[in-house]
């Protein structure tokens, strides 16, 4: 790794770990102090490493400096509180206590933080922003990029969420049976959205995007390491993410353009991740509760089979049927109709597709255009043109242009 890349990389991997441990140590009242200490640690690193070169073990160096800064802070703070403030009720732990930055302590702290961030008092979108910020070490600008919004919005959202956690006096503790019962769904949804945020939006090899996915997988792995949180649904989520992530290499061209599933070079699919996905899928099959995540993992599993068999599409169709019966989502409705075409034929699928009437969704017109392609190319062309007008992102417009070009080849 180049010297200039090292610090941003360490910032990404270590920032959130130290934050989690410090928050765990101080309690939720001191999130901002923890953030100040860690930011200050990285600032010191930038200054010193630039002058003196990179230390032998940069991570250990960061941990030591963070510990020292914490100790100094506590000393000063203690002195201040003793001399000036009489009310010492909220006094943080004494300076003698050591900050434990061992691998186990980091994992425990981060697991506790996941459950803190997903406290029901915090809104859904704020939960994801908080997770990105406190658990994945993403900065305000990066989160704003991921959400396609501006710094100010995210800054306010994070500030409000942190205030909320403080007001509610949320304790940062290892997940209990009750916490798992109450918050596990929110935890899984947050990780799921975190992954999707990276997987589906915006084009190209955006480093933040892929790291969103990696972070979601890392955090999910923390859940699976703990007996209380290694639920069937958590295993299903991990399987789902592994299957999707197996196509990371194949889905982007060297020029940074998206490559559609059917055009991908399947040799680039990551077999190791597919194997891992299967392992977690097996583990998800216990208990008698089928969740959305189980069904989505099942669909993702079938998509790791490149062969266009009837069996594959029939299985995918039935999984989409069940998924939609659990919960409606436009994207599921569109994908279900595509599977219907593959399993039952285009005639039936066209009739069903026209019932969907998702006319504000450009994928709806892409689907219809695709279904009409061989039957009525002129109509397909009109539909693709409508799709192009409805699409918002340049990348989507480009993909639709490809569909139009392919249509010309047919004629």
């Amino acid at each position: 790794m180049k010297q200039s890349d090292l610090l941003p990389h360490l910032f990404r991997t270590e920032y959130s770990k130290i934050i989690a441990v410090l928050c765990n140590h101080f309690g939720i009242d001191y999130i901002e102090i923890a953030e100040d200490i860690v930011s200050d640690t990285f600032l010191t690193a930038t200054e010193l490493w630039g002058m003196k070169g990179i230390p032998e073990n940069p991570t250990a160096w960061l941990y030591t400096v963070a510990k020292n800064k914490t100790r100094n802070y506590l000393k000063r703070h203690n002195l201040f509180e003793k001399k000036i403030i009489n009310d010492l009720k909220n006094q943080p732990i004494d300076t003698g206590a050591d900050i434990d930055l061992s691998t186990t302590a980091i994992a425990d702290s981060q697991l506790a933080m996941i459950f803190t961030v997903c406290h029901p008092s915090v809104s859904k979108e704020a939960q994801i922003a908080l997770a990105l910020n406190l658990l994945c070490g993403f900065g305000v600008q990066e989160i704003a990029d991921a959400f396609l919004t501006n710094r100010e919005t995210i800054y306010k959202r994070l500030k409000r969420a942190k205030e909320k956690l403080r007001e509610e006096q949320i304790l940062i503790t290892p997940p209990s049976v009750q916490m798992v019962e109450e918050r596990m769904d929110a935890v899984l949804t947050t990780l799921y959205l975190l992954f999707n945020e990276g997987y589906y939006s915006v084009s190209g090899h955006h480093p933040v995007k892929e790291e969103c996915c990696m972070e979601a997988m890392r955090l999910c792995y923390l859940l699976l390491e703990n007996t209380l949180t290694a639920t069937p649904a958590a295993n299903a989520l991990m399987a789902l993410m592994c299957f999707h992530a197996s196509r990371f290499e194949a889905r982007t061209s060297p020029e940074g353009e998206n490559i559609l599933y059917e055009d991908q070079d399947t040799r680039l699919w990551n077999k190791e991740l597919i194997e891992k996905g299967l392992f977690y899928l097996d583990h998800s099959a216990s208990g008698n509760h089928i969740t959305k995540l189980h069904l989505e993992a099942g669909i993702a599993y079938w998509h790791t089979h490149p062969e266009d068999t009837r069996e594959k599409w029939e299985a995918i169709l039935q999984l989409y049927n069940k998924l939609l019966m659990l919960e409606y989502a436009p994207v599921a409705a569109l994908n279900r109709t595509y599977a219907l075409a593959k399993a039952n034929g285009t005639e039936e699928a066209i009739i069903e597709a026209e019932k969907l009437q998702l006319t504000d969704n450009h994928f709806y017109f892409v689907l219809l255009g695709t279904l009409y392609s061989s039957k009525d190319p002129a109509k397909a062309r009109d539909l693709f043109l409508t799709a192009q007008q409805t699409a918002k992102s340049e990348n989507d417009k480009l993909l639709i242009q490809k569909k139009l070009d392919e249509l010309k080849d047919i004629r």
């Binding site: 039935q318 049927n321 939609l324 599921a332 069903e352 009437q357």
Partner: protein
């Protein structure tokens, strides 16, 4: 939007005698039909199937057993569909696979108490 109860009636005793392949292909038809309603975001409740056996209780604690041999068609299941009008609901009911085995669908608006 209104909720409509779809009641499926058919000669389920006769139906159960069909070959496993036929039964499986019927299951697929049902799943595809209900999946199609769900894909339009018009499935309010995916309902349940009803077992064939049953009891009917009448005044004076008179209890009789089902299935109800005197009536060929028995209630086999239900779903709830959400549409604007009963005509739209009836249109959806036309796609039900129950007709293949000679059954019927009764569409009733649910009046919320």
């Amino acid at each position: 939007m209104k909720d409509f109860l779809f009641l499926f009636r058919a000669d389920y005793v006769e139906y159960a005698k069909r070959s496993p392949e036929e039964l499986q292909s019927m299951t697929k038809k049902w799943m595809d039909w209900i999946g199609g309603i769900a894909a339009q975001n018009k499935l309010a409740d995916r309902g349940n199937r009803l077992e064939t056996g049953g009891r009917v209780i009448r005044p004076g604690n008179v209890v009789t057993d089902g299935p109800f041999c005197e009536i060929k068609e028995s209630l086999g299941g239900y779903i709830v569909v959400r549409t604007t009008t009963i005509d739209e609901a009836a249109e959806i009911a036309k796609g039900c696979p129950v007709y293949i085995i000679g059954g019927s669908v009764e569409v009733r608006e649910i009046s919320v108490m």
